[in-house]
Symmetry: C2
Subunit: 389 residues, 2 copies
Amino acid sequence: MKNFTFSNPTKILFGTDAEKHAGDEVKIYASKVLLCYGSGSVVASGLLDRVRSSLREQGIESVELSGIQPNPRLSLVKQGIAVCREKGIDFILAVGGGSVIDTAKAIAVGVPYSGDVWDFYEYTATPTEALGVGVVLTIPAAGSESSNSTVISNMDLQLKRGLTTELVRPRFALMNPVLTFTLPPYQTACGAADIMAHIMERYFTNVRSVDFTDQLCEAGLRVIINNIPRVLANPEDYDARAEIMWTGAVAHNNLFDTGREGDWASHGIEHEISAIYDVAHGAGLAVVFPAWMRHVWRHDVARFAQFATRVWGVEMDYFNPERTALEGINRLEAFFQSIGLPVRLSQMNVPSDRIDEMASKATVKGGGAIGNFVKLDSDAIAAILNSAI
Amino acid sequence: MKNFTFSNPTKILFGTDAEKHAGDEVKIYASKVLLCYGSGSVVASGLLDRVRSSLREQGIESVELSGIQPNPRLSLVKQGIAVCREKGIDFILAVGGGSVIDTAKAIAVGVPYSGDVWDFYEYTATPTEALGVGVVLTIPAAGSESSNSTVISNMDLQLKRGLTTELVRPRFALMNPVLTFTLPPYQTACGAADIMAHIMERYFTNVRSVDFTDQLCEAGLRVIINNIPRVLANPEDYDARAEIMWTGAVAHNNLFDTGREGDWASHGIEHEISAIYDVAHGAGLAVVFPAWMRHVWRHDVARFAQFATRVWGVEMDYFNPERTALEGINRLEAFFQSIGLPVRLSQMNVPSDRIDEMASKATVKGGGAIGNFVKLDSDAIAAILNSAI
């Protein structure tokens, strides 16, 4: 086990009507707030009105920033920064999923910074202060509600980049599983792939003797696998929605990688796909992850066999652990297909003609290679993408 | 799943040399500290000197309170409160295990309170403020290093009582598994029983649809079961010591009971034994838990069967789940015995003549009954204790 530092101070309020605490919780930090959201469902469902009421009841003034899209855009981040500066706002409330939260986080580090906020995502500058962020979560997927990271897309450069800093960890997250009843099946499935990917990025490590976190990761994966079919069959299954929502947060709050070193190559590769083709992040991960696994599994057959047996219930073939290892990957791919996700680039209408470009862009920040479990250069990434056409 | 609030802000620094950060971490909060410890090993091992050096290097003045015993005493708490007031101290650093930490926490709530600190443990008053507490952990057992609770013994009244409040959650915990290499086998085993008891108190719940936390609990139990024999065979097995130490903290930081309602009757019963006979808490739990289980298992055979199969690897007998359920309890008891713990009161030299008195005292605070999984009145508690003579 590696040495580590861990802290997860985000206050979680979980359960029915959690969003009604928006006003109380914001009030601890500010009397004026930037209220960020996307469009459509948060408005139509009445959620936004309930949040507005809760803020009003506590005498909190709010300025709104709407229209945040999946693969959230740098342009809107800059707009939010300008609004906060102009209005003297020092707290941001995100109402939505990962894209809204990540936008809020980007605004939070951008407001007190005199340079271009994109510097932080290019790692040419490091944030030293940030506004506070709070969350009303509507989509279990990104885990951004209690994580220390944010991912933003720069459409001009066709780049999607992440920033990790404790400064952006939300002060609170209000998590009401009822709000996820109306998520369409495809979005529910994409969220599942994202949650599973967050766990698998951490699971596939070269650090030995990580028994506790291995078992926590396996528990999280099994819970998603068990509960996603339930909510696809019955979208209003509160308990199954709750299991998914809570697992999604814990999957990405860093508990599961205490003492380990995660891989993160699959996320890096997927970001290049999203940056150009604007596909759903979870769908992209469903395509990339099995392809990545088939490229790297020989590196640690024992770990892949453990994944197969403990997560997927594959019977261990003690005389042929390779077969067990491969069967785990097959099960993962079959699961993604069974819940309606693509497992090939073509199923997302992503053509093969820019694979080399994506492979090359993916390695820029890593100095020519990405991933920790297995280092991947651009040739390896291209091979993985080509295997997933 | 029940609604819940969860937050675990304690900053964990885990790994080799973690204790060297004592000075840096205390400095964030204070320039003068009460340094609390027991006796013997922390002095002999040189740990205390390393902590003193670390504090000195940061220019932190320290006043020491030593001699804290297992089943920590109210009398020493009062002494610590007086010292803090006299010296104007507003931060407490605990170097030790649960007894030292719980003493530090009791002092922390006692200093700003004008009444008798025991009021908080009798629930006749509620603390509203507290000094900050930091921890250098030497014994994985109580989980007090990142928990919101403290348990103190009032020897005059022969009472051992707990207090739960967010005010006492430590600001930081420095956790170096190397410090646990010198723990004697019996103390290692007692710690294991305490950690397992913390998980099992949470596991046995009447709340339905708690899949994620069930699986987290089961993971934690398996890790202790797998790793304790390793450290008993080789006390300097760093990785196994690390697994136990980290599991012990997570077991009691409240993640494992998010969305559930724990039982806690076994802890209540054990506290009555310790209060009179001053036995090791973990040993008392090893006696009480299997006896409690044999009293209550019929209340939820499915849960006990799940415990048996998932935690102990018992083959499920689908046609006789009762047999599976009972076999899980047998395995728990056999495990405790295998690691050198008592499973009978007589093995701890606890006579049977005051069982009715203990049973009666245990129910005072609960208004005549304790436990949530199954409500136990004093007759039921006496029956459990009589079954464990």
